[in-house]
């Protein structure tokens, strides 16, 4: 029998993990990791944190070293996959070549949602998804210049914190009535609002961007209220869209992401998918969810590699996430979708550490832990292991100092 080949499309968190896990699962065939960014697969989360703030280099962000891929016989190929021919088992590359596959893993990730207003094309308007994006931002982010961040989600707020560290004047424009509106309780939003104001960031909520104006470069952001905010630099962080076109044009089932099951299988038995480009029914939440985080990309990638190798490994891990802003480290265990009650430990209006537990019908479903790693570990373990619901009485409603830390 000829040697089998697994081709992985997209060389970031999910793709790199599929490649590494294939070898751990004992896949003896070829592994080709095709990616269209220039660097070795690198960590994306630090882009809006240390990398933007100039505290780390791209080489330091490599997920694994070049030697790792060489030793594991993982071939890295720099190209864009343009088409999948499922009946022939081939992919066509931007280099003009084509590559046969026995198994295919789609790890195409996501791209920033574009701001669709007049002037959005002007020089000085940036998105933040890749190291190349950040290099462009850093080239113009000079101390004292005025940056406007459109979008008060995690990426927007982290960007604001890093730009402050670089000495810029920063304004955050959020369309809804509070920052992090989509992902946290009002109490947690109020905390981050306070922290950023204390650090000198100007936050405007209910601020709808109507246009960007300028000459050769962007000069101001015009709001629907008629007000305009001067800007030397605009960074747009209004969410992401999954890269599903490649899968869709090959006829795979798509529903807000490439649809996968608990073993990362798509609607084609020879094709798996993992990471930000996928959506999946999660029994725990009773709905189809598209997760946008590194731990889930890794977990799905491990399941995908097992499936390719003819083994069974289900995606079971609890979704979790983290975010760093200034000295504030937020760790989130679980998804709070559908919560009907929050329980606070600590005072978000005053302290710099507290936990917000989310309950649904009296049971714990998620926790936002701010500078409280203990509460995070506690919540993550409990949510992962508890066989029956965890109620309010079992929450660690004590302050860190009570624990003698």
């Amino acid at each position: 029998m000829s040697v089998q080949r697994a081709v992985i499309v997209g060389a970031s968190h999910a793709g790199a993990q599929v490649a590494a896990s294939l070898r751990q699962e004992g896949w003896a065939g070829e592994v080709v990791l095709v990616g269209d960014e220039s660097a070795l697969p690198y960590q994306r989360p630090p882009l809006s944190k240390d990398y933007l703030a100039g505290k780390s280099t791209l080489a330091e962000l490599a997920i694994r070293s070049a030697e790792f891929y060489a030793r594991q016989e993982i071939r890295l190929l720099g190209a864009t996959v343009e088409r999948i021919d499922r009946s022939a088992g081939r992919v066509s590359l931007s280099t003009g070549e084509s590559l046969g596959y026995d198994k295919l893993a789609l790890c195409t990730g996501a791209r920033p949602r574009r701001l669709r207003v007049p002037g959005a094309h002007l020089a000085g308007v940036h998105y933040l998804r890749t190291a190349a994006d950040v290099d462009l931002i850093r080239a113009t982010a000079k101390p004292g210049s005025r940056a406007v961040v459109v979008g008060g989600g995690y990426v927007g707020l982290e960007t604001a914190a890093s730009l402050r560290a670089l000495g810029l004047d920063v304004t955050v424009l959020e369309a809804t009535e509070r920052v992090l509106e989509r992902v946290t309780a009002p109490e947690v939003s109020a905390f981050f609002d306070r922290i950023h104001r204390e650090e000198g960031v100007c936050i405007q909520t209910s601020a709808l961007v109507e246009a960007l104006a300028g000459d050769a470069r962007v000069r101001e952001v015009v709001l629907s209220s008629g007000e305009s905010v001067p800007a030397d630099l605009v960074i747009v962080g209004i969410g992401i869209e999954p890269n599903t076109e490649l899968a869709a044009s090959a006829g795979l089932v798509i529903d807000n992401g490439v649809v996968i099951d608990d073993r990362a299988r798509t609607s084609d038995p020879d094709i798996v998918a993992a990471g930000d480009c996928t959506s999946r029914d999660i029994a725990r939440y009773g709905s189809r969810v598209r997760l946008e985080c590194v731990p889930s990309a890794g977990e799905q990638a491990k399941a995908a590699a097992a499936t390719i190798s003819g083994k069974c490994r289900e995606i079971t891990a609890l979704p979790w996430f983290w975010s760093d802003q200034y000295d504030v480290k937020l760790q989130i265990a679980g998804l709070n979708t559908g919560y009907d009650e929050v329980v606070l430990s600590g005072d978000p209006n005053r302290d710099r550490d507290f936990t917000c537990f989310y309950l649904r019908q009296g049971e714990l479903i998620a926790a936002d832990c701010v500078n409280r790693p203990r509460d995070f570990v506690f919540s993550k373990r409990l949510l992962t292991q508890a066989t029956q619901g965890v109620g309010r009485a079992e929450l660690p409603l004590v302050t860190v100092s009570d624990l003698g830390a």
């Binding site: 997920i63 030793r71 594991q72 983290w322 790693p373 203990r374």
Partner: protein, 106 residues
Amino acid sequence: MAVVTFVSHDGETHAASLEEGQSLMQVATNNAVPGIDGDCGGEAACGTCHVIVDPPWSDRVGPSGADEEQMLAMNPEREPTSRLSCQMVVSEAWNGLTVRLPEFQM
């Protein structure tokens, strides 16, 4: 060449050569040591890089830091010489170091 040995929960050993300046978590992932995930990339945020340092080495590699300690505190597999390997910057002087891996990572 300085070498560190990782011993899995069921006793399998993996030797890896150290590269000065890397974290022990990076040494493990770059050498395909199973059982160390490093999900957060070394931010002390995930706890998936837990190792238990061979007690005689404990003083030489040093104690855990404050954030690290809090991450370890609630871990049932925690032992007196537990560390998060992403917080351990390796040095050539660690030649011969042995660390054990817990049964489960976070």
